[in-house]
Subunit: 205 residues, 2 copies
C-alpha cells in the first residue's frame, strides 16, 4: 500500500541514460515549480515525478536553487509571451492572453512560474535576471520609442496581473468574463503602451 520512496512510473523504460535523466528531472522541475512555486515543492516531489531519487538532483544540478535557475531559463527562453509584431501585436497578444488564462485552460508558462515563486527573494532575483535577458529584452526591441523598456515592462505587468487575478486567484468577474470582451479591453491597454501611430493615440493629460 505504501509507495515509500521508490522511483515513480516515469523511470520504467529509461535505463541509465544520464542526459535523458537530467532532462526528465528538468522537465519535472519546470512543471512542479510552475504549479506550486519554489517554496511549494520539495526536491523529493520533483524527483518522484522524474522517476528518480532526490539525490540525483543534487548530483546533476548541485542544489535546489540551481535546478530552479535552469528551470526558469527553460521556461522563459521560448518567445511565447508576445505573439505577432507591429500593429497586430496588441490585439494578438491580448487574444492569446485571454485564451491562456481561461479558468478551464490548464496551460502553464513563465507567468505562473513567476507569480508562484515570487515570494522567495532568491527566486525573485533569478527571475528578474531571466526577464531582463528574455521577455523584457525581446519586447523592448519590438516596441518603438525611447522609453520602450519601461513600456515593455508595463506590458508584462499587465499580463502578470491578469494571470494573477484570473488564474491564480480566480476572482469572480474575470473568471466569468467572455474571452472576446476581455481581449477587447486588454487590447486597448496594450495599445496605450504600443501606440499604433506614434503620437496619434496619445491624449495630452
Amino acid at each position: 500500500m505504501s509507495a515509500k520512496t521508490t522511483p515513480g512510473p516515469a523511470a520504467d523504460r529509461r535505463k541509465r541514460d544520464a542526459a535523458a535523466t537530467r532532462q526528465a528531472i528538468l522537465d519535472a522541475a519546470v512543471d512542479a515549480f510552475t504549479r506550486h512555486g519554489y517554496d511549494g515543492v520539495g526536491v523529493r516531489d520533483i524527483a518522484r515525478d522524474a522517476g528518480v531519487t532526490a539525490m540525483l538532483i543534487n548530483r546533476y544540478f548541485g542544489s535546489k536553487e540551481e535546478l530552479f535557475a535552469e528551470a526558469v531559463e527553460v521556461s522563459f527562453a521560448p518567445p511565447t509571451v508576445i505573439t505577432g509584431t507591429g500593429s497586430e501585436l496588441a490585439e494578438r497578444t491580448a487574444r492569446t492572453l485571454a485564451a491562456r488564462t481561461a479558468p478551464e485552460a490548464e496551460e502553464l508558462g513563465p507567468f505562473l512560474l513567476t507569480l508562484r515563486s515570487a515570494a522567495n527573494p532568491r527566486a525573485a532575483e533569478i527571475m528578474r535576471d531571466a526577464i531582463a535577458r528574455h521577455a523584457g529584452r525581446r519586447l523592448g526591441e519590438e516596441l518603438p520609442g525611447d522609453d520602450a523598456g519601461m513600456r515593455a515592462e508595463l506590458m508584462l505587468a499587465v499580463q502578470a496581473g491578469v494571470w494573477l487575478m484570473r488564474r491564480v486567484l480566480g476572482t469572480a468577474a474575470l473568471a466569468a468574463a467572455p474571452p472576446e470582451e476581455l481581449a477587447r479591453y486588454v487590447t486597448l491597454l496594450f495599445q496605450v503602451l504600443d501606440p499604433p501611430a506614434a503620437e496619434a493615440g496619445m491624449p495630452h493629460p
Copy 2:
C-alpha cells in the same frame, strides 16, 4: 549569544492583557505575511515579533491558516487601494501607485501580501474572498457601466502587475522609471478601464 526562544522585546511593557496580546500577534502577522508570504513565515517568527510564544497563536487564532485569514481581513479592509472618485480616480490612483511602488519606498499593503502568498492554494482562496468583499466590491461600485466588475478587477490586475515587477522583482526599467512618467502611462491605462466620458475615449477596434 543565542537568542533561544525567549519572547522578543515587544512584550517588555505589556502585562497579561489578552486583547492587547492578540492585537500584537495580529499586527506582527500582517507585517510578516506581507514581507515574506504565507509559506515564508513560521508561526515562531510571528510569535517572536509579537513578543510571545508560538502556542499563543494557536490559542487565540486556532491555527496559522486562521491567523492568516484575519491578517488578510485587516490588510484589505481599509480603502487605500484606490484614491479619489469620478474623473480624478484614474490619475490620483496612478500617482499613488507610482509613489508606493518606488524602490526606495518601504510601504507594505494588500498587494504585496497577495503577491507573496498567492502560491499557496488555501491562501489564494482566502485572498480571493477578501478581494471580492473589499477592494473588488468598492471599486466595482465606483466604476460605471454593466461590466464594471470585470473592469474593476482589471484595474486591480494592472496595479498588482506594477507591484510585482517594480517592487517584488525589481526589474530594471520600472525600477529606474521617473515617477511622473510612470504615473502618466498608468493613468492612461486606468482611463481605458474608467472612461471619463462614457464612450468618448473608446476607439472602435
